[in-house]
Each structure stands twice: as structure tokens, then as C-alpha cells.
Point group: C2
Chain length 342, copies 2
């Protein structure tokens, strides 16, 4: 049976929100188990207050906690009995199929690289993010793990992103765009121009340069970029959604008539809000490392963790996304020398 | 009296939409004149079909047109009788207070640099863009003119952006943020870290690193970034707005009740749409050159040009933004050597 290892102690609302999210997930869906890692006594107390199938959540004790302001490399190296390091070790020993943490992002990335390790052929693992568009979901890759990228990284992001969208959304040939300042071929700085060249001859369905608004148009399935642009885009997208929802709320609370309209339309707006709710979209896999590591954001609530388990971890395990990435890179000759200007 | 020089031939919808926009502007507001530059016969014919004060729009003939796919430098150097080059020359000869064009962006930037020239002390002029936030308008600078920037450029963008927001929006001390992948001090790549250092000791109210969602929160007044990130952000913002409006439209057309609600709320939604309408926000000045050059986007409609004249050009002239930028840089010692890692 699928087993998901969860860092009970990571994140602003840990451990309660994390544990509540796990219980919600277990109560909503069959077919998987959870291993909670952290301070056993604390976890047990929260579990005891709730109703769920006791056979589906177990606890592995870890006495330390990596804090949000700990230095990533130091924390991973020194806090051997932290929930995060113990969680990584369980994953490495194949005691689970995925490890989810809402803890210190830098430490999680460092742990994924140092304790789990890169897939052969991949220079830079990446953290992608999904956003809604006018058509399907769109994957932004990288969304924050690599703030400076070489052209070869863009190609590798494109290959991983293509596999992700192919397996998870059953797309035959995901359309890959290079996020740029214009849609014409020769746009952008030298790195982007070289990335364009590599992508053009790479094993992906590259449709060329794209602009910021093409993310939301849905004309591409994967937007390839460095983690600086990707991170700003992802967060701006969330911010724009929040701004527009606030404006709409203002319109509906204007007078009695608009308030009545809101009551009449409440259920329709609920679906709409959930589609743009960052908590529903949360849970990003670190693609390019040997096991499935999933980052949930620091302010994760119970529903964020529930989504990360049900909507992110389980589909990624069931669709064998990591295996497909390993296969593709094993059979590929990666030539970082292609990186240079020809 | 203020005179605005307008390139009648630039843009996808030129010359009709451009000329219509000028007529609308003249009919809506007193106190300025317009000089239309382009093919005299064509312009005259369109003007003849409309009602407006004939003393307020005149024509300067130019027989050539710079096309959207012309190579910028070549076009500016060779097409001496194009509406764009003639417009630039009129501006240089002080025959007008601003020059607006919706034509070839590259050519407009090249012309601004070659024919008008940089203000002393400014290494890289910049194209900023305004977006709405939960509080006031926020200026993204640079929004596309410079895809690779050195740390000193960020400082210069910040100074120009600060002056812009101070004079146009009467802010005492505009809050300047550096657009980054996290809000902590030591975030981002080396360029961003050095830009952070320069901004910290610069003559601006620097509040530190900001993330994508801080653009829409309104907690900063100016978001400083390179033109790659800024351009993607601006266009993604527009795209997110368009996506959300589409979703809302879908909700309102669901059934008879929701359709009725829409009718009841129509006027409230009109204000909302206009706030997020890219055409209303259009018209970006090239800050850092000696005269006021304003770029309106290629797909400008009549209302876009009207906005560029009434909401962008005239306030920029009246508030003497360029003079203030010139004064500030004249009295400042710019040391590009501060650029390097210390």
C-alpha cells in the first residue's frame, strides 16, 4: 500500500494543521497510509482527539525540529534527529513512497540534494508549480529552486515538465514554451537565446518563446524559465487573484441588491474561489531527485496538506512520474557542452 | 500651450485608431494641442470625417512608415522621412512637449537613445509600467527595455521610479522594493545581492526585498527589477486579469438568476473592468532620455491613445517629471564602480 511520510513539525502551523490535514486525507480517500514524523508525544495527543482508521497513520519519533530561520546546510548536517532529516532517511530506506514537508524550504532543497541525491543526467533539480489557465493547468518550471540557470537547465526542466504533464494530465505531447520578453525567435538575453536553441532540437514539443500572458491563455502546457522569473510569476499570479477577489467582494457588498446577488450566486463563487485558492494548488514536487519529495508552503493549513497528499503525492506515485524521468534521462546523452554559444 | 506630437502611422490599428484617439482626447479635455505626424493626405481624410476644434490638431507630413518587422537601428538610420523619425526630430527641436508612438517598440527605444539621447548620469533609460494594487498604483521598473541589468541600473531605476511616483501620485516618500525570490535580505543571485546593497545606501526609501505578491498587496510603491522579470510580470498580470474576468463571466452566464444578477450589477462591474483594462493603463514613458517619449502598445485602440495622451503624457508634462530626474542626476555622483562586489 502507498505510504506517505509527512513531516509533522514543519511549517508555521505545525504540528496541529499538518496532522489535521493528514487525518482529513485519510478520512476522505482509501488506499494509502501515512507515517507522521516528529515529537511522538505531541503527535499522539493530537491524533487521540480525532476519529480515523488507526491502522492508516503511524508515528516515527524525531526529537529535533529544523526552524524556519535555521541555515539549511548546517541544519541538515547537524540536526540528525530532526523530523525533516528522519523523514528523508525513511524515504531513502524505501519506508515510504513520498515525503511531504512544509518546513524550511532551503533545508528541504538541501536535504533532497544531499540525502536523496540527483537522478543521473540531471544537473539541477527543479521545483515546478501549477497554475490555472483559460484551458488546462499550466506548469511553471522552475518556480524558485534555481535563481540562475544555464541553457542546459532549461532543456532539462522542459523534459521533466513534459513528462509531468503527459502522465498527470494525460496529454499526448505537452506544448513547451520558453518564458521570454517577446514571442519572436531571437528575443531575450544570451542565456535565453541559447536555451531557445537547445529546446528547438531537444526531445520535447517546443513551440517557441512565450510571454507572461501566454501562461494564463493556456496555449502552452509548460512554461520554462529560471527560478527567479518563475517564482515572481507564481507569487504575482496568487497576488493578482487575491487582488481581484478583493475587488469583486467590494462590488458584491456595495448595496442590498448586490448583497442579494451574492447570496444567490454563493455556490458558483465557491467553485471559482477553490480553483484559484493557492492552498488547493499547493504541494510542489522536487523534480530531478531520486525519490519523491514534496514541498508544501510554509503557511500550510490542514487543507493545504490534505491537497498535497491527495492531489499531488498520490497521483505522482500512481503515474510513476519519477520512474519515467529516470528512464528518459538514462537513455539520453546529456551534453552540457551544448550549453555554449556555437 | 502643451503640444503632444503623435505618430499617426505606428501600431496595428494605425492610422485610424490613433487619429480617433487624438480627436477623443481633444474633445474631452482643454488646454493642449496635438501634432499628428504621418501621411498628410491620409490623416486629413480621417480628420475631415470628425468634429473637433480644428485649431487644436495640426499635421506634419512624413511619407515613410517604420513597419513592425523593420530592424530598429536600420529603420531609424535609413527611414529619415518616417513618421517616427520626423516625430523624434520635432521633439528634439522643442516643437512639442512629448512624442507618443504605438509603432515598432525596438525602433522607438533606439530612436529615443540615438535621436534624443540619455540624461547625463543615467546608464540605461527604462520603460516603467503601472499596475493596480490593493492600495495605490504600483510602478514596475524596468518593464521590458533592459533584459540584463547591472546593479547600478537597479539603483537608477529606483531613483527615477521614486521621482515618478512622488510627482504624479503626490507621495511624500515612495516605498521602493527590490523584486526578488524572498523577502529576506540575502536573497537572489549576485546581481540582486549587489543591487540590494546599492539600494540600501541610495537616495531612495528602500524597504528591502519583495516578492511577486507584494506588487498587488500595495505595500510598495515601486517594484525595481530587470526588464525580463518586469515584462513577464506586467504581461502575466494582464493575463491573470483576463483569465479571472473570463471565469467571472462564466459564473454570471450560468443560469437565469445569475444573468439577472449581472444586469443588476452591470454598472459596478464596468468600473471594475476599467480599473484592470490594459488599454486604460497603457502609455509608458521612456524614463532617462532628455525629452518625453511615450510608448503605447502595438495593438493600441482609440481609447488607448486617448489614455496615453490624457492620463500619461499631460500629467508627466505638468508635473515636470523629466526636469526633476535631470536635476537629481546632475547633483549626484554616479559611480558605476560601486557596481562590483565589495
Amino acid at each position: 500500500m502507498i505510504n506517505i511520510i509527512v513531516d509533522a513539525m514543519g511549517g508555521d502551523n505545525a504540528p496541529k494543521a499538518i496532522i489535521d490535514g493528514c487525518i482529513e486525507a485519510v478520512n476522505m480517500q482509501e488506499g494509502f497510509k501515512i507515517t507522521l514524523v516528529g515529537k511522538g508525544e505531541v503527535i499522539k495527543k493530537i491524533l487521540d482527539d480525532n476519529k480515523f482508521d488507526r491502522n492508516r497513520i503511524d508515528i516515527v519519533n524525531a526529537n529535533e525540529v529544523i526552524a524556519g530561520d535555521d541555515t539549511p546546510t548546517k541544519a541538515i548536517k547537524n540536526k540528525k534527529d530532526s523530523s525533516m532529516v528522519v523523514g528523508f532517511n525513511l524515504l531513502k530506506e524505501k519506508k515510504g513512497d513520498a515525503f511531504i514537508s512544509a518546513g524550511n524550504t532551503g533545508a528541504l532543497m538541501t536535504g533532497a540534494l544531499l540525502l536523496i541525491g540527483r537522478i543521473k543526467g540531471i544537473d539541477r533539480p527543479s521545483l515546478p508549480a501549477l497554475v490555472p489557465s483559460k484551458k488546462n493547468m499550466v506548469l511553471i518550471i522552475d518556480a524558485g529552486m534555481n535563481t540562475v540557470c544555464r541553457p542546459i537547465n532549461y532543456l532539462q526542466f522542459a523534459i521533466m515538465g513534459s513528462i509531468y504533464m503527459k502522465l498527470i494530465y494525460k496529454l499526448q505531447s505537452p506544448k513547451i514554451g520558453l518564458l521570454n520578453v517577446g514571442s519572436e525567435d531571437a528575443k531575450g538575453n544570451d542565456t535565453l537565446k541559447n536555451a531557445f536553441r537547445l529546446l528547438s532540437s531537444g526531445p520535447v514539443n517546443f513551440i517557441g518563446n512565450m510571454e507572461g500572458n501566454d501562461i494564463t491563455s493556456g496555449d502552452v502546457d509548460v512554461a520554462v524559465c529560471d527560478g527567479y522569473v518563475g517564482n515572481v510569476s507564481l507569487k504575482l499570479f496568487e497576488g493578482a487573484g487575491s487582488l481581484l477577489l478583493k475587488e469583486i467582494k467590494g462590488i458584491f457588498t456595495k448595496n442590498m441588491i448586490t448583497k442579494l446577488c451574492y447570496l444567490l450566486m454563493k455556490s458558483a463563487f465557491k467553485d471559482f474561489k477553490s480553483k484559484f485558492d493557492p492552498d488547493e494548488l499547493a504541494g510542489a514536487p522536487v523534480l530531478g531527485v531520486k525519490e519523491l519529495v514534496i514541498k508544501s508552503h510554509g503557511s500550510s493549513k490542514a487543507k493545504t496538506i490534505r491537497s498535497a497528499i491527495l492531489k499531488r503525492a498520490i497521483p505522482l506515485i500512481q503515474c510513476e512520474v519519477l520512474n519515467e524521468i529516470k528512464n528518459q534521462f538514462e537513455n539520453m546523452e546529456v551534453k552540457p557542452s551544448d550549453d555554449e554559444i556555437s
